[in-house]
């Protein structure tokens, strides 16, 4: 048998049908659903008289539109948002899929709820009408975002029409320096490859620095594979993965657990597998980074200065000029002199317990600088509960952060959590696009520790200065 990558192995195990030209019906093990990209798909089923083929493999949770303020039990004020969430309530009920409504403590961002509940397991195919489905690749699952037509296709047939991507290996060797996190890894990779560098590929992240990451950190890395253009990012499962999955509500138990484990242990790329593209970065070379522009590839170490448009080549010159103007930055300014108005810690990239612990470690006994709006939005109700149990919530509120309920919140600002024009935000989310966090809002992406540091000083800050 010819050597295979992890991606090849998962792919091969899910081919339900293959045409001569390679067009494949790929079987989908888990279909996650949220309220924004699904109403038209359910409507499509209704109009054609089709039903959900595998309700038991379909999991839904509202996250994008839900208010995260503590009074959310009183309902959603914005009518369109409310209609969208109500549509999901109704569609979930009508079709019998698994559902975590807003009132359920397990509700949260779909990419945090899936792993937390044990729906995401190694070797699975996982899709969702959401580009950050890549997150689930941290378990050694083939996970990617799909459009609404494909959501309808998966609901109806439990398959997707696919062509295979190419294999790309991203190796992070050695150890990370203090103050450097999973977020810095994933941003640095995108900074190096560009937002289109992964187009046409499935990325496998490997190397000592990746192995050393917790499951939470691995999810952060895979989450942003999409920002690098890749269809999916994945990491081979190991003891940490198995440990994380064990005992989760929907993970297998008893003999089935043993059988699963036996298969999961085979899920790694063969030594002599073929890679179409390889990128290697030394873990030691990665610094705490921030983005300066309006593309996730606009990444620089926090110790750098704002670049000039002329530093770039080709179409990027105009793009950089536009970015700098939008971001209100002048070339040559040290990044650490850029003052911020707002701090947002949360999202499917960095809304897990480990992220909150990292922020709390910096914030303990400190205060948010006067005049700075700071909020922490846990990724799920269970993350929130755990943070309260560990005493993190107290650290946040004492420091002056708002401590919110779970949801996507200011990651994309579909709910009332938004930036005003010109407002500058240190954010742990994944996209710094123009208007992403509110029309005219300016977003700098960074790790939770870096965002916490910025909250204290009121400017972009090298977290290492605050580490003792």
């Amino acid at each position: 048998m010819s050597p295979k990558t992890l991606y090849d192995k998962i792919w091969d195990a899910h081919v339900a049908h293959e045409d001569e030209d390679g067009t494949t019906l790929l079987y989908i093990d888990r279909h996650l659903v949220h309220e924004v990209t699904s109403p038209q798909a359910f409507e499509g089923l209704r109009m054609t008289g089709r039903s959900v083929r595998a309700p038991d493999k379909t999991i839904a949770v509202p996250d994008h539109n839900v208010p995260t303020t503590l009074d959310r039990a009183k309902g959603i004020e914005n009518e369109e948002s409310r209609i969208q969430v109500e549509a999901l309530d109704r569609n979930a009920k009508d079709t019998g899929i698994h559902y975590y409504p807003v009132s359920d403590v397990r509700q949260g961002i779909v990419h945090i709820v899936g792993p937390e509940q044990g729906w995401t397991l190694p070797g699975m195919t996982v899709v969702c009408g959401d580009s950050h489905t890549a997150t689930h690749g941290a378990f050694g699952a083939l996970a990617h975002g799909i459009g609404t037509s494909e959501v309808e296709h998966v609901l109806a047939t439990q398959t997707l029409i696919q062509k295979k991507s190419k294999n790309m290996k991203v190796e992070i060797t050695g150890k990370l320096a203090p103050g450097v996190t999973a977020k810095d890894i994933t941003l640095s990779v995108i900074g190096k490859t560009g937002t289109a560098g992964g187009t046409g590929y499935v990325i496998e992240y490997c190397g000592e620095a990746i192995r050393d990451l917790s499951m939470e950190g691995r999810m952060t890395v895979c989450n942003m594979a999409i920002e690098g253009g890749a269809r999916a990012g994945l990491i081979a499962p190991d003891e940490k993965t198995f440990e994380y999955c064990k005992g989760r509500p929907h993970a297998p138990k008893g003999a089935q657990w043993e059988a699963a484990l036996n298969w999961w242990k085979t899920l790694k790329s063969d030594d002599d597998a073929h890679w179409d593209k390889v990128i290697t970065i030394r873990g030691e070379d990665i610094a705490p980074v921030v983005t300066w522009g309006t593309s996730p590839e606009d990444v620089l170490p926090i110790t750098a200065n704002v670049p000039a448009a002329e530093d770039f080549k080709g179409g990027k010159v105009d793009a950089a000029r536009r970015s700098l103007e939008y971001m209100g930055l002048t070339a040559g300014t040290p990044l650490t002199q850029v003052e911020i108005d707002t701090v947002f810690i949360g999202s499917c990239t960095n809304g897990r317990i480990e992220d909150l612990r990292a922020a709390a470690a910096i914030l303990k006994g400190k205060k948010v600088k006067d005049g700075i709006r700071a909020m922490i939005v846990p990724g799920s109700g269970l993350v929130r509960a755990q943070a309260e149990e560990e005493g993190l919530a107290e650290i946040f509120t004492e420091a002056g952060f708002e401590w919110r309920l779970a949801g996507c919140s200011m990651c994309l600002a579909m709910n009332p959590d938004q930036l005003s024009p010109g407002e500058r935000c240190a954010a742990t989310s994944n996209r710094n696009f123009e208007g992403r966090q509110g029309r005219g809002g300016r977003t700098h992406l960074m790790s939770p520790a870096m965002a916490a540091a910025a909250a204290i000083t009121g400017r972009l800050t090298d977290v290492r200065e605050l580490m003792t």
């Binding site: 339900a16 609404t148 123009e434």
Partner: protein, 201 residues
Amino acid sequence: MEKFEKLTGVAAPLDMINVDTDMIIPKNFLKTIKRSGLGVNLFDEMRYDDDRNEIPDFVLNKPAYRNAEILVAGDNFGCGSSREHAPWAIKDFGIRCVIAPSFADIFFNNCFKNGILPIPLPQEQVDLLMKDAEKGENARMTIDLENQVITTSDGEEITFEVDSFRKHCLMNGLDDIGLTMEKVGAIDSFESKAAQERPWV
């Protein structure tokens, strides 16, 4: 799905790289539960000012391009989210073909599901088409899907690649789900085999 065979129309030049889905259709318009009516909000933040007046400089607001059916753009078009609202808005505006050096994966897929033809071409050829598009409304381009040829307003021909299955679906307006349903036997047998091999799934 609407068929795509041959299209002759005005091409609008949008000479920007990394046009993301938040630009194509900002999140305030994702709250709809319908697929239609998004055309007026295509490129909303670039097209209108804070008072909802049109920004005259934006390409689709210029008289020459108000009825554009083709869009020529920079590298990595459609990057960002999976929102199919992006192709819905493009289609609703009246654009049926987008040409760029490269496209983001999910956006690229989503186009085909909505009767839009995305054509990736080498940078030099996109540059040439961009120049052609800049000539305005009298310069009409032709996209011939069957023969996989673009003809510029000067009669210059550029061939392009397209996946054969997708071409077949576009040309015949075929619905993917209907096609897959014909293979339900294969799905059934896959499911029973998988239930044996991986019963925990």
